[in-house]
């Protein structure tokens, strides 16, 4: 989010009052259309013999969306278009028991999103909201009836409500529309993607710039109105290769920014592409590992990915939902809810989430926001204190242990918000830290004591599988790349098995995904970490034949152009 967007004052209104009239900016035509249709929905949308909505919220995102993709020095796609999306949420029943947090089998539609005129035409936008509201309302009525039946049949007695009472706010940030220099970025994408021409081991690579800029509006029947500017710039690079034994390898590097001025120079971006290429090249020539049981060092973004899998996923979406289809993972409740007050990490770690933090050591944090997707002001939340779990990510979905939102109700546009990450900040107690270089020495020391010839350092992970890992020789500290590794029997133990962390911390920006709730921008600030014991084995994946011909660009000249 760009700073300009957040200059609007936030008026906190002391009391929750249904259908309170907002003081919308008079010249804001989009809000005008939203308000007029919302008011009609709340006052007149009702089927005979059925309840009318008790809550409705409308969201509109309007702006420019661009995607430029290149490969091997040439453009594959380039698209820039103005767009406008409308999203509607309707609740029937009451805040104690409504149609939400329930997935009916066969109709697992949780979002009502459509596109409307990018010109934000009054009639056109109202018509889009009208049509979505009609569908959402009819869907909500059916869900509420089925949810009631589900509750009876499953003998569910406990109920902590479906929508917590929160203060309403009005916040009117400036509209935003950053420029997009298409020719410049087409040129840069070509150049960055051409970096892979230097690496004969890489079979296929792609570089994509995604850019979105615009203004988001949220209006609820409770009286919350939020307008904020939003810009997201992502440079996503991916490379695929086969190891010498044919095993397929893939790695990626994604960079995320919230304004053009944060995007580094072309040379720096090309440097990132090179780092990725070198990781892949190393893996191509990497050795195999049969089995390893011993200490593992997670460096930089691998450490961030470690916290994402080990902690974030376990404290997100604490409410979960009821699903007629029990296989649906979108309904999973955070597994750490039952561990509140218990130790989940080593005692020398404090972990908080602070969406209000805009930068860390100069790096703009992608997970920064001021108001969440439900119109609740973002708050810093202590999650882990001295290793004990003290907080969860809360949206307006109450649970037994926590009855209110802490400003972390987030979702991709138009999807149902749930408790999600913003900026996760891991803070070790200073006396347990050491310089990053010393961590590697400590790894070697521990391995020596255990009688191991080498230790393992992981530099990049995907879903807790090491994508880039190296053997570190105990004898001389030399590194040798590895390929095709998997952790086994991991469980939740590793967070409690951290023995040392680096004094240096780095910020890792990414999109956090959650089934049913989509992608949200997020950041993790974490030190590198040394875990006392992990089990690693060779991947179960089978290799493929290598290509019959050499890559035409790297082939001997006799075949070349």
């Amino acid at each position: 989010m760009n700073h300009r967007s957040v200059v609007g004052a936030i008026f906190l209104l002391s009391l929750f009052s249904p259908c309170r009239a907002q003081k919308l900016p008079g010249d804001d035509k989009v809000f005008g259309a939203m308000r007029d249709e919302l008011s009609r929905t709340m006052s007149r949308l009702r089927m005979k013999g059925m309840p009318s909505p008790y809550f409705a919220s409308y969201a509109v995102a309007q702006g420019t969306f661009a995607t430029v993709t290149g490969s091997f020095g040439s453009l594959v796609m380039s698209r820039v278009a103005p767009e406008l999306y409308a999203g509607v949420q309707i609740r029937v029943g009451d805040s104690a028991f409504d149609n939400t947090h329930f997935l009916a089998a066969g109709s697992e539609r949780e979002s009502f999103v459509g596109n409307a005129s990018f010109e934000a035409d009054y009639d056109n936008l109202r018509a889009a909201l009208w049509s979505l509201s009609d569908e959402a309302y009819k869907d909500a009525l059916q869900d509420l009836a089925r949810k009631k039946a589900y509750k009876e049949r499953r003998l569910i007695k406990e109920n902590f409500g479906d929508l917590s009472r929160e203060e309403t706010i009005e916040s009117y940030g400036a509209e935003e529309l950053l420029p997009f220099d298409r020719a410049l970025w087409e040129g840069r994408v070509r150049e960055i993607s051409a970096v892979f021409k230097e690496y004969a081991d890489i079979q296929d690579s792609q570089v994509t710039l995604s850019f979105q800029t615009g203004t988001k509006r949220l209006l609820t029947s409770e009286g919350t109105a939020v307008r904020s500017g939003i810009t997201r710039i992502s440079l996503e690079m991916g490379a695929r290769a086969q190891a010498l034994n044919g095993l397929r390898l893939a790695d990626s590097s994604d960079l995320h920014y919230v304004s053009w001025k944060d995007v580094p120079r072309l040379e720096v971006l090309k440097g990132e592409a090179r780092r990725l290429a070198i990781r892949v090249k190393d893996a191509v020539h990497g050795g195999d590992l049969l089995t390893y049981v011993g200490p593992v060092l997670f460096e930089d973004e691998a450490a961030a990915e470690f916290f994402d899998v080990q902690l974030v996923d376990n404290i997100s979406n604490p409410r979960g939902c009821w699903s007629e289809n029990e296989e649906n993972r979108a309904c999973d409740q955070a597994s750490f809810v039952a561990r509140l007050g218990l130790r989940v990490a080593v005692p020398f770690l404090d972990i908080a989430d602070d969406p209000l933090l805009e930068r860390f050591q100069g790096v703009a944090l992608f997970g920064h926001y001021r108001i969440d997707s439900e119109g609740v002001p973002a708050r810093r939340v202590n999650l882990v204190e001295k290793g004990k779990l003290v907080g969860l990510y809360m949206s307006r979905a109450p649970i037994k242990e926590r009855r209110h939102s802490n400003g972390h109700g987030r979702a991709e546009f138009g999807m149902l918000p749930t408790g999600r990450i913003g900026n996760l900040i891991v803070t070790p107690q200073a006396r347990f830290t050491m310089p990053k270089a010393a961590l590697k020495e400590k790894l070697r020391g521990m391995c020596r004591e255990l009688g191991l010839d080498y230790g393992i350092v992981v530099r990049r992970m995907q879903n807790l599988s090491p994508v880039s890992a190296y053997k570190v020789s105990v004898a001389d500290g030399r590194e040798e790349p590895l390929k095709g590794l998997e952790f086994t029997g991991t469980g939740t133990r590793p967070l409690r098995d951290i023995v040392a962390v680096s004094a240096e911390r780095s910020a890792f920006n990414f999109y956090h995904y959650s089934q049913g709730h989509g992608l949200v921008p997020a950041s993790i600030v974490a030190p590198s970490i040394l875990v006392v014991e992990m089990e690693i084995k060779k991947t179960e994946k089978k290799p493929d034949l290598l290509p019959y011909l050499k890559h035409p660009f790297f082939a001997p000249r006799s075949f070349g152009p």
Partner: protein
């Protein structure tokens, strides 16, 4: 299941200005990589047991502008370009190769799954060759693996009814080059026009969904094969269209869709014409909305020219596609009807992709060369009621060892035999008014209370597989009851035409002298391809209709927020 979707599919074309002559640089790059692969793959270890005998590349360049307006405002405005690649590899021999049909347990397995490959858009040879190389390698390995499966499958399953080879031998390789440059679109002008059209629907709150769009597309296809073919061909597709829909209280979705196809902007109709059509579409939808439901009925009908064209495309055309005469799991409705009457004796049916227009109107189904590099040609499928031929690609069938230039596909799919421009012709015709008189006489003769007039049909589906009933169902959009006396025609709704194919075509009693064109996109195993169908209005002695399956949704609870009522 195949559909002829006139609506819904946004295919369009811009730009006239063909640039004949020069070979494209893309072809040169394709040629280099094909030559390198062809030579080197012949030397690999596997080639000793399983030779590579055929390789082709097809690259399709698309430039498309789309403008879409709803209720007087622009919803979409996009300009896009993309380039796709298909690699076809054949290993084994033309007699038996990796594309051979699998039977029994593995009969579900097509030789190629949908696989869309996006290529770099620019001339940069390095990037293009890198992509060609990777796809060739993957396609070759898949072909080897499937060939081994084919051999095993053949050994353990019953003998095939049609022992024809898997790939035809064709004449000498073709060189052809006539590409087309994408041309600009006056976007300012078209924004204003579409807004004007779409705003008209605001005056009619009973319309729940509506829009007007323009799509202008230029498509260039580049084809190169190990047999020496080298083809570059371009075509423009422009479509202006509008749609409007409503829903009845009993949950029936009703809609009207009108499109105008051309390959030059100046051939699109004037505002005056479009607005006039639009008003009559609104009128038709209003009448339909208030129309009574029709009960199941069997009796005489007229299929109005465009409706008849769709009907023939759907019910007849798909059943004479070559692969359906050969595949063991197909119903093979017409396979054994060769040289026998299949349609009333004054009717002939042709498919002629060489026709670029018909009486001055653009035909979407035209092409010079098919997607296997075979020159398109007019094929007489039925002459005077007798079935003479099938639509063929390079997959031979019994009695037809060679392609007749109908191998077509959407990028990403394996090519099969498809229609291009399907023409229904009658050797004796009457004026349309006379056809109506004949209908009334037939109603009296059959002692029916009324007959039906099908004014517009939206396509539908036809099951050709053996596992299903050999029947079809098409969805009429605009149907009238016609009485034998002087009562005016009455619109009815909720009818589907049902029936079995062989019976239907023999019951054509007469044809009018009013051929009209249906331009659309047809979806089948090889994806969506642009097609046209032309037919006169036809009088059919008996057709069956049944109630349409409808949605259970109610109309919106509140009226639309435009139209001045709220």
């Amino acid at each position: 299941m195949r559909q002829l979707l006139g609506a819904a599919i946004v295919l369009l074309a811009v730009c006239p200005a063909a640039t004949a002559g020069d070979d494209s640089p893309v072809l040169t790059v394709m040629q280099k990589e094909l030559d390198r692969s062809w030579t080197a793959l012949a030397r690999v270890e596997h080639a000793k047991q399983i030779p590579l005998y055929y390789l082709d590349y097809e690259v399709v360049d698309n430039d498309e502008a789309i403008l879409y307006s709803v209720l007087g405002a622009l919803d979409t405005e996009s300009l896009s370009s993309n380039r796709s690649l298909d690699v076809d590899v054949r290993v084994g021999s033309p007699g038996l190769d990796n594309t051979h049909e699998m039977k029994g347990r593995e009969s579900w397995s097509e030789h190629r799954q949908y696989h869309l490959v996006r290529l770099p858009l620019e001339k940069d040879a390095d990037a293009l060759r890198a992509a060609l190389w990777l796809e060739t390698d993957a396609a070759y390995k898949t072909a080897l693996e499937r060939y081994i499966q084919v051999q095993a499958n053949r050994a353990v399953t019953a003998q095939e009814e049609d022992p024809s080879p898997d790939f035809s031998k064709e004449g000498s390789a073709v060189h052809f080059s006539k590409t087309r440059r994408a041309q600009g679109l006056d976007r300012e002008l078209w924004r204003a026009k579409l807004k004007k059209y779409s705003a008209r629907f605001k005056e009619h709150p009973f319309i729940y969904r509506s829009g007007a769009f323009l799509s202008a597309k230029t498509e260039n296809r580049y084809f190169i094969s190990s047999e020496g073919a080298r083809i570059a061909q371009g075509r423009g597709y422009i479509r202006l269209a509008y749609q409007l829909a409503t829903r009845t209280a009993d949950g029936m979705e009703l809609s009207r869709f009108v499109s105008y196809d051309a390959d030059r902007m100046e051939d699109l109709p004037s505002d005056e014409k479009v607005l006039k059509d639009l008003e009559s579409s609104v009128g038709e939808l209003q009448v339909l909305k208030d129309a009574p439901l029709v009960e199941p009925f069997a009796g005489p009908v007229i299929l109005k020219n465009r409706a008849a064209a769709v009907f023939f495309h759907e019910i007849f055309g798909h059943r004479v596609e070559g692969q359906r005469q050969k595949r063991e799991r197909e119903g093979q409705t017409f396979t054994k009807k060769l040289n026998l009457p299949v349609v009333s004796d004054f009717i002939s049916v042709y498919d002629d992709p060489t026709m670029e227009s018909f009486r001055g109107t653009f035909l979407r189904g035209a092409y010079a060369y098919d997607d296997e590099g075979i020159k398109s040609r007019r094929v007489a499928l039925v002459e005077n009621g007798i079935l003479h031929n099938f639509l063929l690609n390079r997959v031979p069938i019994r009695g037809f060892p060679r392609s007749n230039g109908h191998g077509r596909r959407e990028p990403g799919y394996a090519t099969v035999a498809r229609m291009g421009n399907t023409l229904v012709e009658a050797s004796k015709t009457v004026p349309y008014e006379e056809l109506r008189r004949m209908l009334k006489a037939e109603i009296l003769r059959q002692k029916k209370p009324f007959g039906l007039l099908f004014d517009d049909i939206s396509g539908g589906f036809t099951t050709t597989g053996r596992d299903g009933v050999q029947a079809f169902k098409v969805q009429p959009l605009l149907v009238y009851k016609v009485y034998a006396d002087d009562r005016p025609d009455e619109a009815v709704r909720g009818v589907d035409i049902v029936g079995t194919p062989i019976a239907g075509f023999m019951k054509i009693l007469a044809a009018a002298d009013d051929p009209a064109i249906f331009n659309g996109s047809c979806g089948a195993e090889s994806g969506f391809v642009p097609v046209s169908a032309i037919s006169p209005s036809l009088l059919i002695s008996e057709m069956e209709v049944e109630k349409v399956a409808k949605s259970q949704s109610q109309p919106p609870i509140l009226p639309p927020p435009y139209g001045g009522k709220d």
